[in-house]
Symmetry: C2
């Protein structure tokens, strides 16, 4: 055996360092958009796989099935109905592009909109995958603070004015208005009206990421920004990852054909996975509306367990607003806690958390914050994991000082 | 309704024009890597879907199932066996990364190896998707001529010497050595030895695309370059698109961890479609070896029909070498035929072809050539489509002059 060839000198400088080898999931995993395996509608998915494969499985021999490059037609037809019913969106199947998860949606939208040096507006605390994509593209995100009702419109107005004064026109306003990640807030209809007004006045389009919108405790949501816009200036993306199963990797983009056709022209993957599209269409068309409340009821119970455990283990040291839906809780710890520094010792104790600064463009604001995902761990794992985390946090940062009124 | 928002001014200049709306498949479709729907192992796939979902379907609630980011472990385990048995490759599951089709494999390899201005070596006539990716990246492909045994090693040696004289070090030698696209040639073992020697002498790695390797009429193939390399300088990619079903979008990369880990670090999609990986692993582990000969027997018959039809309709005006496997035939028409100009009138007559210049970096050499894919159309469609094509070609270019010895 000769000496192994060294690829390293050939790798361009901007390529990230190699990934670490995967060594299994942490025992108490409060990260990732994983869902509750017990709530997965498995029997329904198996029945769907059987019926759709028996009926039209041979179309798998053709790229794009018999539906062309925008995705399986029956799934787009389901989405036309679902988006109308749930989000008030009026669109045709031709205005929908099925993607490999909403992550590919992010990539395709960014691909046709952004170039190095651009500026965009996003929520200050925001989905890590969206922030990282902007960083990699060399795009500057301007973060808008949030309150209990999501993005603050006064702050958005100021930011837009400020950018205008500086001669900068942001490429889009990116928002997760319906169960915001990580804050779990829902932007009320009145703020949506305001955002659309501001966007219109500044000639800036809106990029609406609605991937958590199905997971709302009381199932009440304002119409999508896409539905409320009177000038077709909103690109809307969504996903089946949160409502059915994340490993399926099926999302979608809803946008006017003029810009959607550009995205389609840059989708060089010969289509997204067809079997998953077929199974989803076959399952969701009859069962989606019945499945969602079952799922959210289970998620809501887990949130309760998480909030109870935090109150019990951290007391007043853990502050949070109850989210209106979703699979995560955004938690504020005392100011002296640096969650980036809490991360490693917590992981060593078997507890994985999302440190706040990875989910925010304001590193100071988010320093003592963390995101805890509650859908995947069991109730028992939530309780034990939070207890472990409190232990580690106490050891590393001296807080919480008391647990269940017992001094540590 | 206000005036619709115009996204156009926001789109960067390098974004391609919008895609045309899909209006259905042409009647006689000789393009695309589509397969024979009749040969799809549908019952087996249905059984596999049932058994794997019943056994471990709830893992779909977790990104990456319980296998981590490199893909479903059982599928990687199958590949370890398959690659050893068929291609002589010795690797572990840790050296395999499951991708969304081999197209994502191309993107990931290019992403960690190439930067604007680089040079690579490829086969002169080559897969359009590979050529286009290089063009988009601003990478210069140096095309090496092929003969009946694939890439010519004398020409490769000259090209490497010439580049060295000019101070250019190509980033890789890209080759489809086993059923080359579009020529259908198989690089013999002796040439593989030579290619590895040349690559070693010039310090250039090899990028081996083996996506058609399962479709060989006599099921005899030389070992993969990856298997023959003694310095681990070969990145190998493959696919289930050709052997099972293209719409499933599952491929894989086999590479040393040092460079594979870089690719994994740039795979930002939260995993490839898990259901498709699960069904493939469950089906292929017991059935792959029995399925492939059934599939190739059917493909071989279609190739016969295509070659007979060409002989009948084009006579000596259509020259071709019988491919050793695969799903396409590379056809040379008389010099006065420009297949780029044949394309549109043929399509209007319902016949879709791949014009040669889109599958070659030598536009003059490929001007009168075309690629005809034969897996998807029926025998009857092949016969009718070739007859139509001969009609159109005669009308546009005056050839063929005689059909079945009858002057047109």
């Amino acid at each position: 055996m000769s000496t192994a060839f060294d690829f390293t000198p050939l790798v361009p400088a901007n390529v990230p360092a190699g990934a670490a080898k995967w060594t299994g999931s942490p025992k108490y995993n409060f990260t990732g958009g994983n869902n509750d395996g017990e709530e997965l509608p498995l029997d329904g998915l198996i029945d769907a796989a059987n019926s759709v494969l028996k009926r039209e499985g041979r179309t798998l021999a053709t790229y794009g099935l018999e539906s062309g490059p925008q995705g399986y037609r029956a799934l787009r037809d389901f989405l036309v109905q679902k988006l109308k019913r749930d989000a008030g969106i009026t669109c045709t199947a031709d205005e929908i592009l099925i993607t490999s998860g909403s992550l590919q949606g992010l990539d395709l939208v960014n691909g046709v909109m952004l170039t190095h040096g651009d500026t965009v507006i996003i929520e200050q605390d925001c989905y890590q995958g969206s922030i990282n994509r902007l960083t990699r593209l060399g795009v500057t995100p301007v973060g808008i603070p949030l309150d209990r009702d999501g993005m603050r419109m006064d702050a958005l107005a100021n930011a837009l004015d400020d950018l205008r004064r500086r001669g900068i026109k942001p490429k889009y306003i990116y928002t997760i208005p319906t169960v915001q990640n990580p804050t779990g807030t829902i932007l009320p209809e009145s703020r949506r009206v305001e955002m659309l007004k501001l966007a219109g006045a500044h000639g800036v389009p809106i990029f609406e990421d609605d991937c958590y919108c199905d997971l709302i405790w009381d199932h009440k949501r304002p119409p999508a920004l896409h539905a409320m816009s009177r000038s077709a200036n909103v690109i809307h993306i969504g996903s089946f990852s949160k409502s059915i199963a994340p490993a399926l990797r099926v999302g979608y983009i809803v946008a006017p054909w003029g810009i959607l056709s550009r995205m389609l022209a840059t989708k060089f993957d010969a289509g997204s996975g067809a079997l998953e599209q077929m199974v989803l269409a076959e399952y969701c068309t009859p069962h989606f509306t019945a499945h969602v409340p079952v799922l959210t009821r289970g998620l809501r119970k887990k949130l309760d367990t998480l909030m109870e455990s935090l109150n019990e283990q951290f007391g007043t040291a853990a502050e949070f607003e109850e989210p209106k839906g979703g699979i995560f809780l955004w938690v504020k710890l005392p100011d002296n806690v640096d969650t980036l520094k809490l991360y490693q010792p917590a992981l060593q104790a078997g507890v994985a958390i999302n440190p706040g600064p990875e989910w925010s463009v304001d590193k100071a604001h988010s320093k003592s914050r963390m995101r805890l995902c509650f859908a995947s761990p069991t109730h028992e794992e939530i309780r034990q994991g939070v207890a472990k985390l409190a232990e580690v946090c106490h050891r590393e940062f001296g807080v919480p000082t008391r647990i269940s009124n017992v001094a540590r």
